[in-house]
Symmetry: C2
């Protein structure tokens, strides 16, 4: 894996017609400078590829592609907790029936009403929150329905049940989106010893059959995230796993620990303590069973890499013990910067690879058309690379890859050329990294949320523009500051680490990002008050540290200088006397920022607070101009607070964030070093390589000047989205 970086790519999946395109594949590999070709599962490459000098990557699917055996052992199917729809009772006579599978694909899921499963089912009156006594309902397996004898009119009822997953979701997706028509693949659960044995046998046979494969990509490493991001462990349950958990921890998790009123354990949920134990339990299980498989790969003389995409729940590659697996690399499919950082910041594997979007599919995984009517794949790739590149400047990405159906590229020669350009740029950036780490700004930031460094850079793996937390991550991903993630538990246990300059808390009230009920423990706010009072910086965004109580909504309002009304009295607060022009943080901005969703109903909390960016949203006939604060700065002891009422990832706001980090850390005097005077131009300085890389993040030509840390000026002009490399 120490070969020079180059785009490796896969030859698409094993659908009719693909194998006939091998010539075109080799042609593109040459054009793009690839050093590796990827097979879907080892069976689809002609021998000529192995002989052509390219490395060969191949997926292995540990828990599927074994229908025949699974059919004979149906109890080993993976299971998960699901909730029926919440169904409203009306004023009718007779028993109330909930068809628990309504809305679900019956080819994909089948309720598990076995005697060891049924005790885990729960039926709720969701209107009162009351759990129904098991004697008050019964499961009709034939009709896949639950019958409740007595219900209250207009109340909602739901059934939480265990279900078998009878069709692997990724495989189903390819059926649906890519028109596959092979037999639905069933996923098996390694919680059963016989499955682990079967996996070992299958893998041994595969390694033997696919001797020419150089790199084994563990694509289904075992459990799928259930739609809620990498913190959703719904699909790791089974009566057996639940019993093993009880044996170890003494408590039996309930369905509701997974269902959470139908929201499941999305990464944005504040988890309950039992659920956090469950996550640890599954990770321990992952570590316990995975080592031997990786050893088998190594013993066969191959590399082993993990794909952080399909089934990888429980692997936790940021966990301190992950590196004991001796995995050779990790791969993430990325649209943007923070997904790139998710893999790029890993210290548990030596090689990090990013797989680019758009896939060579008619539609993107998000449903957006790409290589089909209405699609603009070149424009998509330009956008994604603009954002991904920012992250590549900050951390080492060793490999890049593309993939999909080769024949779809035929109508898009500009796209094919731009893949070449992306690979050239990525190679140049990686070459700089290989000589030595890039210069870092003198500010160490810590993002404070539920998950900490164990789940660094996660949101849900996709850019969602209406999430302020997502937008923060994306801006941070490309800044030259040190970023780590700090959990509430860590702060409760030992305060803010000594080497952190600025703590950031960002998100909507009640989420795992902002903290929700976690702020009910006063030790959290007191630890942060102490940190800022002694000279630390605190940046709050949106509804930071939000939990109504003590006359505040933002627990950190004394530091931020501003609060949201704890009771939404909705006064017309006149911020005019708080407004100050020309603050360091906004000195690149000309007028109000574009923050997308601003938090409303703000009120000043301290008299010395200064509103340094604001927007006039209306004129009120009866009072005064209605100025809505966007950015508030405040002093607290020897430290500083900065509040952003909203945040959207764009060039100007990323710049404002960078300045806010410097200012909150009290280091605004050190600002100019390795900064450009044009927010659309960002740079990375590689002292070991003595290279200055400058990127233009805009679709227009940009001019500007970079200032070195010795005051030297480097004038630069770059056309749209271009990148330059200067020897210094």
């Amino acid at each position: 894996m120490s070969t020079p970086i180059g785009p490796c790519w896969e030859n698409g999946f094993t659908i009719p017609g693909q194998s006939g395109h091998m010539e075109r594949v080799l042609e593109l590999a040459k054009q793009w400078g690839a050093d590796a070709i990827r097979s879907s599962d080892g069976a689809d490459l002609p021998p000529s590829v192995a002989e052509s000098g390219y490395q060969v990557y191949s997926n292995v699917y540990l828990i599927r592609k074994d229908n025949e055996w699974i059919s004979r052992h149906p109890h080993v199917l993976q299971q998960l907790f699901k909730t029926s729809p919440f169904v409203q009772a009306q004023e009718t006579e007779g028993p109330f029936v909930i068809n628990i599978m309504d809305g679900y694909n019956r080819e994909m899921y089948r309720p598990n009403g076995n005697t060891d499963a049924l005790p885990h089912w729960q039926v709720f009156d969701r209107t009162t929150g009351d759990l129904l006594d098991p004697g008050d309902w019964r499961y009709d397996e034939t009709r896949q329905s639950v019958v409740i004898d007595k219900v209250a009119p207009w109340h909602f009822y739901s059934v939480s049940f265990l279900a078998y997953n009878t069709w692997d979701v990724i495989h189903w997706y390819n059926h649906t989106v890519n028109n596959w028509d092979d037999e639905p693949q069933m996923p098996m659960d390694p919680i059963y010893p016989e499955v682990r044995e079967r996996i070992e046998q299958n893998l041994a046979k595969w390694l033997e059959t696919n001797a020419y494969v150089d790199v084994v990509r563990f694509t289904s490493f075992y459990y799928l995230n259930h739609g809620g991001g990498i913190c959703d462990y719904s699909q790791t349950v089974s009566p057996r796993a639940l019993a093993l958990f009880k044996e170890k921890y003494g408590t039996m998790p309930t369905a509701e620990s997974f269902i959470r009123e139908g929201a499941y354990n999305h990464s944005a949920q504040v988890p309950d303590p039992v659920y956090k134990q469950w996550m640890a339990f599954i990770h321990d299980f992952f570590m316990e069973i995975s080592g031997p498989y990786i050893d088998m790969v190594h013993d066969a003389g191959k590399k082993a890499v993990i794909f952080l995409g399909d089934q990888w729940i429980g692997s936790e590659p940021y966990a301190p013990d992950f590196k004991t697996l001796k995995m050779d690399g990790a791969i993430a499919a990325v649209f943007n910067g923070f997904e790139t950082r998710l893999v790029g910041d890993l210290t548990s594997v030596p090689v990090k690879e990013i797989r680019f979007h758009p896939y060579f599919f008619p539609k993107e995984v998000t449903g957006k058309p790409t290589f089909s009517e209405g699609g603009e794949p070149l424009n998509d790739l330009q956008t994604y690379w603009r954002d991904v590149r920012r992250a590549c400047l900050r951390v080492t990405i060793n490999r890049i890859s593309f993939g999909g159906i080769i024949s779809l590229l035929d109508g898009y020669p500009d796209f094919v050329d731009y893949v070449g350009e992306v690979s050239r740029q990525a190679r140049r950036i990686a070459a700089c990294h290989l000589e030595g780490a890039p210069w870092k700004a003198p500010v160490k930031a810590a993002v404070l949320c539920e998950w900490g460094q164990l789940r660094a850079w996660i949101y849900r793996g996709r850019m969602r523009y209406n999430s302020i937390y997502n937008n923060l991550l994306e801006a941070l991903a490309g800044l030259p500051v040190d970023v780590r993630f700090l959990s509430f538990d860590e702060v409760l246990e030992s305060g803010v680490p000594a080497d952190v300059d600025v703590v950031i808390n960002c998100g909507k009230a009640g989420t795992s990002w902002s903290g929700g009920e976690r702020w009910g423990d006063p030790r959290l706010e007191t630890a942060l008050f102490r940190f800022v009072h002694n000279g630390g910086g605190f940046i709050g965004m949106g509804e930071p540290s939000a939990l109504k109580g003590g006359g505040r909504f933002f627990r950190m309002a004394p530091v931020l200088g501003v609060d949201r009304e704890p009771v939404l009295i909705q006064e017309n607060v006149d911020f005019k006397s708080f407004c100050r022009d020309g603050h360091f943080i906004v000195s690149d901005a000309d007028g109000p920022l574009d923050l997308l969703d601003e938090t409303v109903n703000l009120k000043p909390f301290t008299q010395q607070a200064e509103v340094v960016s604001w927007r006039r949203i209306a004129e009120c006939d009866h009072f005064y101009d209605y100025l809505r604060p966007q950015l508030v700065v405040n002093g607290y002891g020897a430290g500083r607070g900065v509040y952003f009422s909203g945040f959207k990832y764009d060039a100007m706001n990323s710049r404002v964030l960078a300045r806010a980090l410097y200012w909150a850390a009290g280091k605004e005097q050190q600002w100019t070093a390795w900064q450009s005077d044009n927010p659309f131009l960002e740079c990375a300085w590689f002292p070991a390589a003595r290279k200055l890389i400058v990127v233009n993040n805009s679709h227009q030509t940009q001019k500007g000047t970079i200032t070195g840390d010795d005051g030297q000026m480097y004038p630069i002009e770059l056309s749209m989205l271009d990148m330059s490399e200067t020897d210094v």
Copy 2:
């Protein structure tokens, strides 16, 4: 009081120079068609006024202007619960001191640390919410401070204390804003029998001295609202009143029932049960003591009217028993329509008067300049009258009035002329009402909130543009629909009244308007589900029925068809497939509405929901257009739901609201009768007078057609803000 309507006005206050302007006063009275002149307190009018044929109004100040007597009986000063600032402890040695009067005017308030008062004080650790044991703190009267021996670093502490009000706040206001310099007036509390006796004596003497006064205006009827709107009863307390309450109800209210973590009992707060009993207790007391004073006025051959402005807490003119007082009228100072409805909807008094803003003062009560540098009083009056007039079209306003310092009018001849125009229009509208009630639309609406009809049309008495509830009230105030207010308690007790077509719930989560924890009682939502299922309409605005639970945030989401994410997962919900053009409700609108603050993070709740107005707020590179729903319609049983994601009072939105009311009631077929086809033109049809009044609510000339209920068309063209009257 059955004299023809005309602007009555006061001759300003008794400050030097006013008495010298009497000639100008009489000249304006003639120009404006006034029939009455008002004295500040009966002592400031020259005898010539009484002889001029004008009625004479005069304020009486029952609880102040008696400093000499109060000085000799200082225990009778009014009292109130106040909170000290919430002060943060640091990591310092020694006792912690809270200066309880920090931030308060010491001329206005004095802590009451007497032995009967101190037991009511409370000291809180506001960080944990813990009440400190009285043994853990002591009051240092000399320093007006509370000393706590042991505090936790970084925790906040506060002192809730009883204070005497040593300077009437209205009087203080005139000192500050209008440069009065007479001796600060002290307010006395009628809870003491000796005060009630003194008030009786003072009133008897006053009636004797001011024989020529025709109408007595009770301006200080006894208790001031404490800054939080008419639901804030903070200034009605005293050790005596608290003891009397305990005698009657068996419980002793705590300071915290009034302080509420520093937010007091603003009208937007959901009150606690003890506090609601307190409100009833004070109203009973008001009714008990006020009759005799009114009888005295009547016995002296004069009328008695109440001013719903300064001190009137506890009077509750919407309470069913209020009319037993035989008050002759009520007066409200108004900026806009819903304040006008507050007095205009009263059935407990025969005559309703509105007092106009702007006052003839240099600055408005809101702090905005008026008759001084930067002021635009003509523009202000035009704006206020535009809004007030809409309400005057719907309910009878018998009298209007202006007031202030006459000499300030000298530089504003346009303003003086426009007062004449306002009085002409008001007189014409009132004349129509006197012949018979105007036509009403076939929709009866009920606004559902904490307060019900007992406190109809209240918000806080001022237009605040960032309150969605306020904006709803203002739009409703001028629509030809029947509007009543329905409390949560009423619905819990007996469901939605049979004659209500549409229930509206509007406000931010957690407020008394939306309902907050009131929705924790499932009987509330079930009563409303039943109502809508059986054919009723439900309109939700902002965060209606919002209380997280059961997988919902809006409890009425099944009716509204849309919910706000209960956990703010912040998905990019793609509403595209829900969007429908050309719905009845928005058929006057051209594109998105201007709703000021839209609720974000919405998600569809039912598949049949239709988004009938939306706004594209951003393009998301990775997904789809980000369309934010503004208006959602949904069917539920035989009824209908409409959701507004925000609301701002303007001509278009008022029209959309009117249509939403018709549609929710299932009466969209009846829409055209007495509607104009131009949203800027509104009309009132007076069948008894056979007059059609049309108003132009815009600053531009408007053309349009009114359709009668027989299909007859009335074309109309009106210049800016003009009004027409047509015989039909």
